[in-house]
Amino acid sequence: MRFPSQRSVADSFSSIPLDAGADLALKDGSRVAVIGGGPAGSFFSYFLLKMAEAIDLELEVDIFEPRFFTRGGPSGCNHCGGIVSESLVQILAAEGINLPTEVVQRGIESYVVHMDVGSVAIQSPAKESRIAALYRGNGPRDGSELQWESFDGYLQGMAVERGARVRHKLVTGVDWTDGKPVLIENDGHASAYDLVTVSAGVNSNFIGMLKDSPAGVAPPKTTRTYICEFKVGREGVHEIMGNAMHVFLLSIPRLEFAALIPKGEFVTMVMLGDELDQELVHAFLDDPTVRRCFPTDEKPVVCSCSPLINMGATKRPYGDRIVMIGDSGVTRLYKDGIGASYRTAKAAAATAVYQGISADTFEEHYWPACKAISSDNAIGKVIFGVTTLFKHSKISRRAILRMTSLEQEQEKAPHMSSVLWNMFTGSAPYKEIFTSTLHPGFIGSLVWNLAHGMRPSGGNGKVA
């Protein structure tokens, strides 16, 4: 596989005329290239074509995606925990996009929070399954014979139904001719486009090609995660996990967050942390709290990966005739990456169809959507920082467990339950979570339970 050097591609951006932005707009017959056929690329293509049709604008959309999502294992996968948040499930339904049972591996109706001091189940506030656990690709290596549909494949199918064309080609270079981007494919074929939308995530070589680009487009900061699939069997999954996602608040150095997600006959383990390595993975799996919930001795790992995730917004995710969406641009901190893909994809599509495709237009109409996510992430960082402090104090862990358990058992006002639910599910903006921690009821109850947690016998938790 051949890739042009980063320098040579970056140099190619220097040929973009600085004043090319004036009056740039999509017209009948305009050609749009979408680099990456994951959720962001498919959402963008779907909404772009839907909005264009509404104003009788005829566009040609090519989605460049070398992978086939019908293939099992890494070659057909976009490496992700695979959760569609509660809020996104609802919003997609309002958009007329209802996720079929062939795509959703399990509907999640509760979260179980595990700590060394005990565990507590938090039920969905709506008392129904509104979180979708699914596979981005066609499932783990060992599941190729199973009948299910990939989420990314499903969304891509929607875009194709709208008129998009999928080209299973690798884009290996970008050149600019007469101010228009020209994509060079791995077989040397070159095509000019009116707009290039980058939805290649942060694990693609394409995103690296944009580094140091004179056009001002730059890739975001990243960190590494760890994802693996345990083959447990359908009955085993039901028995151990139920319809719940299991999350862990453990005082393990460098571990930010870990979760177990039930999917069909597999359990997906997702870990986020600082300099995540095998040592940290083993420290987590060997932790007594994890072993109590999910002993892995006889559960084969059938698939694993260490993908990068976006940890900071791209400073300028647009230029003349180019826009970056999803993970390639801005995403939510730790959670709801698919939701951020939907939001940025739709905002970029609306800008391209109704406003224009110049850098100035994207700045005026697309950037506010990115900035809203980015600003909310700043609050998210504070929340996760405070959570880390709480995680390392046994008294605090006891207080969290007791407060949540009492709320769940006695159906009290769900102060802590609501904070934890929204934090783990990614259903609410971080600003809303932060605001709810300022409620006098939350503060009063937390102080009371902290005082109770100081007693030696305080905080005997159980699975509610």
Binding site: M51, E86, S87, V89, Q90, I91, A93, A94, E95, G96, N98, L99, P100, T101, E102, V103, V104, Q105, R106, G107, A126, K127, E128, S129, R130, A132, L134, R234, G264, R343, K346, A347, A350, A369, A372, S427
Partner: protein
């Protein structure tokens, strides 16, 4: 209920929303079918049958009136609840989302007008 099913399962004949109740959410049919009925002169009149992908209860999102009709499952049906707060927050960010709802509501007004016109012709 299948592993991958979203929403809540209602048995055939089970009431999902009741005319006269207050509501703060709308619903989307994920599978099965439901009937929309309204109390008229002590009896019930069926207004519509809704299938997979259709939504109902959306009037509660935009006004503070009570539910104008009863909706019950015709057969076993799976229904997803959409919270008013979640939807309105998103519509504030992205007003285009409301266009989907408006399209359906516009279609329903058109059907209603056609129904009224037919009723007018019959009464003459």
């Amino acid at each position: 209920m299948r592993d991958g099913a979203l929403g809540r399962e209602y048995f055939g004949g089970e009431t999902i929303i009741q005319q006269g109740e207050t509501g703060d959410c709308m619903y989307v049919v994920q599978s099965g079918s439901v009937e929309v009925v309204q109390k008229v002169n002590g009896g019930e009149q069926r207004l519509a049958i809704l299938e997979t992908g259709d939504f109902f209860g959306e009037m509660a999102l935009f006004e503070r009136e009570v539910r104008s009709a009863t909706v019950r499952a015709l057969v076993d049906a799976r229904i997803l609840k959409v919270d008013k707060k979640t939807l309105l927050r998103r519509i504030k960010e992205d007003p285009l989302l409301a266009v989907n709802l408006l399209e359906t509501m516009s279609g329903r007004i058109r059907e209603l007008n056609a129904g009224l016109a037919r009723a007018g012709v019959e009464s003459e």
